[in-house]
């Protein structure tokens, strides 16, 4: 075999020699840095909430925070006691079960016990000869036989409660349990499950739903599956790396680099005080993908370089491998990091911005360790890669590419087919792009909380069961504030509030509206029930009458009984509408129309009114996502393109490099369209990630094309090119297999993430195998593969990235200075 001595006079060569000569020192320094940076992991605080995606200054988020502070009934657990027999749930056994559950609530840390709401905590207001009277709707002092009738009678005095805490068909009771932090209520959820299992009376079943339950369940499934599947994905990816390198012991070095890069990315996250969000789950996988690609390119080149030498030496092979890969690995890493930083800068959602930032940190860590630690590790773990030959039964290993001969033949045939018929290859690529575009065109921004759970998930079933009987549990609020100290309980202001209530009731999908004016009307009717209406009240008294009604009610009830509706100074109140859906595409028009209506209403009545509640918050962050998604993707693509422009400076090189990127990104959207996956917080980043991953293929291949041809004059694919393609193939396959492992998760967000990133990797690989060889033929075969002179090499040294000529700086097996 012909040996090609690595020349240290090139920048790459000199740097490679310097790195290899000091690899032990650099490795020691790296090994010191890893625990130092990685120790930040212990400071990581999890934040599984979807609300973390809400920009902190978003109006809806601010209003919800204020409503939570004032009224304390945001995003509760909603517990239903259901009877499937068709009988009324107004039985002593059912009511006692609810009472027992309520009694147990104070034992649960984090439950806002005093804000719980059920039929048992609700009062009936009615008039007697004595005036306004307040009695509990459920009076357990009456005989069991008359209990249901008593409840119905008292409930009839409060028509606004109809279908609110007991279903209209009397088949279900509701207990609403607010918690201090609905985004971190998983321990409460578990305890509630235990309690309800123990307390359900025969013939009834408890179901737990509500935003707090869904948040908790999502937290459970994602946490469990992440712990289980991410390591499995790592192992799967490493198995593929082992297949590429043909040696089990060769996997050790990449394993360390992957682990170290991930540790540094997560450690930086911890040191910076950032939180581990739902989408941060993807961070280790993305860093792993980048690190695998870096490691594979270097490790494969090492094996090839080792084989190239007649008297192989580890040092020399490492030096050659590094000198060949240093530039593309550096370029891919920095370009990918730039893409992630673009994602970070373009996002105004903290989780996405932080994901971009720490993914960039991980990518740069993978680059650093690939150059400083990987050579030493390869030297330690796999110093003589040829000493362990493949088993006799195994396929023959191609000496030039370290690939099994059949594999090389198939790969070479595929590449040559595209290379020799560039028009057809590009035509096929174009068809694929058109098909992908057609599929991607149906993708939309949408979100529905229930879709974040598999069809048979308990919380999804519970939500469906309760919603079936109550019409829907999704809250859309309006917070109304007096602009002065004048209370809202004035006749004119209550009329204005009633206007909003009526407007809400007329909207599609609204199943109920709960507002203070309804209650005041009941109180007034009760107080005046036996009063002669012979003389009209003077205007002044008429105006303040609602506050007197309310005072009469307060005087007859428990203190703070109406805290969930109106603030004690009577200057702030809340209207709550319940909708049958939380799907963004359904509620966005209503929320938008409500905002417009309230703007006009506020001007007309000189009162402040803002949209609030869960649905408004959801709409708020989805609108923010829709606004920022194109910007984030454009920034990522822009920075990647800019980096490519700075390095390659030639349109054809840039176009060839970006082909795998565009395929990767389009494949993501195409698959979303094909599978009906929406652009939502869990999936919005995948296209930007695809940008970072896809550019690797292009850079590695184009870097080679700028230095040498894809196909040799003898018609064979250049072994170096083939080695690079093989590294791309295996890194893409490793990533795909790893991500498909994640797809077995029961959490749809994890499945979506896995399948979409896998699609992006396959898309980029498709372009690398289909489009890049065609481009190589069209753009890089016009000039013969020449042996550069020392003068051109010197010119290249002066302008390392300014030329698109074949570079002599990295000797290529079978060609170049030594050929």
């Amino acid at each position: 075999m012909e040996t090609v001595p690595q020349t240290p006079r090139t920048i790459d060569g000199r740097l490679a020699r310097w790195l290899i000569a000091r690899r032990r020192l650099l490795a020691a320094l790296s090994l010191l840095l890893i625990p130092l940076a990685g120790s930040g992991i212990r400071f990581i605080e999890r934040d599984p909430s979807v609300d973390a995606f809400v920009p902190p200054n978003h109006t809806a988020a601010l209003m919800q925070a204020r409503a939570r502070e004032q009224f304390g009934v945001e995003d509760p657990f909603v517990i239903g006691l259901l009877d499937d027999s068709g009988a009324s749930v107004l039985t002593p056994a059912a009511l006692d079960a609810i009472a027992a559950l309520e009694e147990a609530l104070p034992t649960l840390t984090g439950v806002e016990f005093n804000d719980r709401r059920s039929l048992l905590t609700s009062d009936a207001v009615f008039g007697t000869d004595f005036g306004l009277e307040v009695e509990p709707i459920v009076d357990r002092s009456v005989a069991d036989e008359t209990l249901a009738a008593t409840v119905r009678t008292r409930l009839a005095t409060m028509p606004m409660l109809d279908g609110l805490l007991i279903s209209r068909d009397e088949s279900a009771l509701l207990l609403v349990v607010p918690v201090v932090d609905p985004n971190r209520a998983e321990p409460i959820y578990r305890q509630l499950l235990d309690l309800t299992a123990a307390l359900a009376p025969p013939g009834y079943r408890f179901e737990i739903a509500g935003v707090a339950a869904m948040n908790s369940r999502l937290d459970q499934t994602v946490s469990t599956d992440t712990r289980r599947l991410v390591p499995l994905a790592f192992l799967t990816a490493l198995l593929l790396v082992g297949l590429a390198l043909k040696r089990a012991r060769a996997v050790a070095a990449p394993l360390v680099i992957i682990a170290a890069s991930t540790a540094v990315a997560l450690g930086a996250l911890g040191w910076a005080g950032s939180r581990y969000y739902l989408i941060t789950t993807a961070l280790p996988v993305v860093v792993m993908a980048i690190a695998i690609a870096d490691c594979l390119h270097i490790a494969l080149q090492y094996v090839v370089a080792y084989r190239e030498r007649q008297m192989p030496r580890t040092d020399a092979a490492l030096e050659t491998a590094l000198s060949r890969t240093l530039r593309p690995v550096t370029l891919t890493s920095w370009t990918t990091a730039a893409g992630f930083l673009g994602l970070a800068w373009g996002a105004n959602m903290i989780p996405i911005a932080e994901f971009g930032t720490y993914a960039a940190v991980g990518v740069l860590a993978a680059w650093l360790f690939s150059l400083t630690l990987l050579p030493a590790l390869i030297g330690w773990f796999d110093p003589r890669p040829l000493n362990t030959s493949p088993k006799p039964t195994a396929a023959r290993i191609d000496s030039e590419t370290h690939a099994p001969a059949p594999q090389r033949q198939r790969l070479e045939a595929a590449l040559l087919a595209c290379y020799r018929r560039p028009s057809q290859a590009l035509g096929l690529g174009l068809l694929l792009l058109i098909a992908a575009l057609a599929s991607a065109s149906v993708v939309r921004f949408d979100y529905e909380r229930a879709r974040y759970f598999r069809t048979g998930d308990p919380v999804r079933l519970a939500d469906a069961s309760i919603s079936d009987r109550f019409g829907g549990l999704n809250a859309l609020d309006v917070v109304i504030e007096s602009p002065d100290d004048e209370p809202l309980l004035r006749a004119s202001r209550l009329e204005a509030i009633a206007d909003i209530r009526h407007w809400l009731k007329d909207q599609p999908g609204v199943v109920a509206v709960d507002a203070i004016d309804d209650y005041i009307n009941v109180m007034g009717a009760a107080l005046l029930s036996n009063t002669a209406a012979d003389a009209a009240l003077d205007d002044e008294l008429e105006e303040v009458a609602p506050e007197q009604f309310f005072f009469a009610y307060e005087a007859a009830s428990d203190p703070g009984a109406f805290d969930a509706f109106i603030e004690p100074t009577l200057t702030l109140t809340r209207i709550r509408a319940r909708l049958d859906s939380d799907r963004f595409s359904t509620i966005a028009p209503i929320v938008g129309a409500l905002r417009s209506y309230l703007e006009e209403w506020s001007q007309r009545h000189d009162l402040k009114a803002e949209v609030s509640g869960r649905l408004a918050v959801n709409a708020g962050w989805m609108e923010a996502l829709a606004g920022n998604h194109p910007r984030g993707l454009a920034l990522a693509l822009g920075l990647v393109t800019l980096t490519c422009c700075l390095w390659f400076r030639r349109g054809r090189a840039i176009a060839t490099t970006l082909a795998p990127v565009s395929f990767g990104v389009l494949f993501v959207y195409a698959l979303m369209g094909l599978l009906g996956i929406d652009i939502a917080p869990a999936t919005a980043m995948t296209s930007a990630i695809a940008t970072g991953l896809g550019v690797d293929f292009g850079i590695h291949l184009v870097s080679h094309l700028r230095q040498g041809p894809a196909v040799q004059p003898d018609g064979r694919v250049d072994p170096q090119f083939l080695t690079i393609v093989r590294a791309c193939l295996f890194s893409a396959l490793a990533l795909c297999c790893a991500l498909l492992t994640i797809c077995i998760s029961s959490a749809p967000p994890l499945r979506w993430f896995g399948i979409l990133i896998a699609a992006s990797a396959l898309g980029s690989l498709t372009a690398a195998l289909l489009v890049v060889p065609a481009c190589a033929r069209l753009f890089y075969s016009a000039k013969p593969a020449v042996t550069p002179t020392r003068d051109t090499a010197a010119e290249e040294l002066r302008q390392p990235s300014g030329s698109d000529e074949h570079s002599p700086l990295t000797p290529i097996s079978g060609q170049g200075a030594g050929s």
Partner: protein, 281 residues
């Protein structure tokens, strides 16, 4: 039982509470046992009549505050305790009033006047455990006049004093029966009694599950006429976090009140005709 009754009775009890009569020499005898101490509290004499302002400050669990101010008129004749509370603020409820006649030998009578209804209504009495006018005080709290009814409680020395102040006398009690506990809403109490005034300056009540339910603290006492009166006290519901702070001001001893001020007619006429009386005109 309706809660309006609570209101009215509570009104009367507030008056009693405000009266809190105890002569300055009442603490002379040694207090040797819990029962003896309770009897001394129960024997506190009442004042003949007084008028003044009441300021209610209600704070919910989230720290939101609402305030109300009322005029208070109290008279204790031989046959009955008569109390009128007329609200002055907020302006929207001005002239809303409660009247209570608490007879020793006959049924109590209570009235309510809400201006928007334009008539005084007779209202029923309430359970002692019912809340008083939307405050954290119960009708029983007010009726108790910071005393512990000898027929309701079994008294004992608490295992540990409630207050660190060693000058205060510890006292504890347990409801005589389940029925009484049910009616009062309290299973037991622990208190620290000021030996000088014989007021329980700090009391904690426990619910029927023996969980702390309410705390009642007297912050300020003063002599009105010749009797000690709790001028400022706070009741806090330890389970809901809701709190009621009551402060009395401009309290004036009026030994011979015109009965008109404690009549239904007076209730309907509102606060204007009471200003001179309360302000000493």
């Amino acid at each position: 039982m309706t809660r309006f009754l609570s209101q009215a009775l509570a009104g009367g009890l507030v008056a009693v509470l405000l009266a809190m009569p105890l002569t300055g020499t009442a603490q002379a005898e040694p207090l040797t046992s819990a029962q003896a101490l309770a009897e001394r509290l129960a024997d506190r004499p009442a004042s003949e009549g007084r008028v003044g302002h009441m300021h209610f400050r209600l704070t919910n669990a989230r720290g939101r505050v609402s305030e109300r101010t009322a005029l208070l008129i109290h008279s204790e004749a031989e046959d009955a305790v008569r109390i009128a509370i007329q609200f002055e603020a907020p302006a929207a409820i001005r002239n809303t009033g409660f009247l209570s006649h608490d007879f020793e030998q006959a049924s109590d009578r209570n009235w309510l006047y809400v201006p928007v209804t334009r008539r005084v209504r007779r209202i029923p009495t309430a359970d002692r455990g019912d809340p008083f006018m939307g405050t954290d005080l119960s009708y029983g709290d007010v009726k108790g006049d910071f005393k512990f009814d000898l027929e309701d409680w079994r008294f004992e020395q608490p295992a540990a004093p409630l207050a660190a102040d060693t000058d205060l006398l510890p006292l504890a009690g347990t409801a005589q029966s389940d029925a009484i506990a049910e009616e009062l809403g309290y299973q037991r109490f622990e208190a620290a009694v000021d030996p000088k005034t014989l007021f329980p300056v700090k009391t904690i009540y426990y619910d029927r599950n023996d969980k702390p339910l309410k705390s009642l603290e007297i912050h300020e006492q003063a002599l009105v006429g010749d009797v000690w009166t709790a001028m400022h006290f706070t009741v806090r519901n330890l389970q809901t976090g809701h709190e009621t702070d009551v402060r009395l001001s401009d309290m004036r001893y009026v030994p011979s009140l015109d009965s008109f001020y404690l009549s239904e007619q007076s209730l309907e006429e509102g606060t204007a005709q009471l200003d001179d009386l309360v302000d000493g005109g």
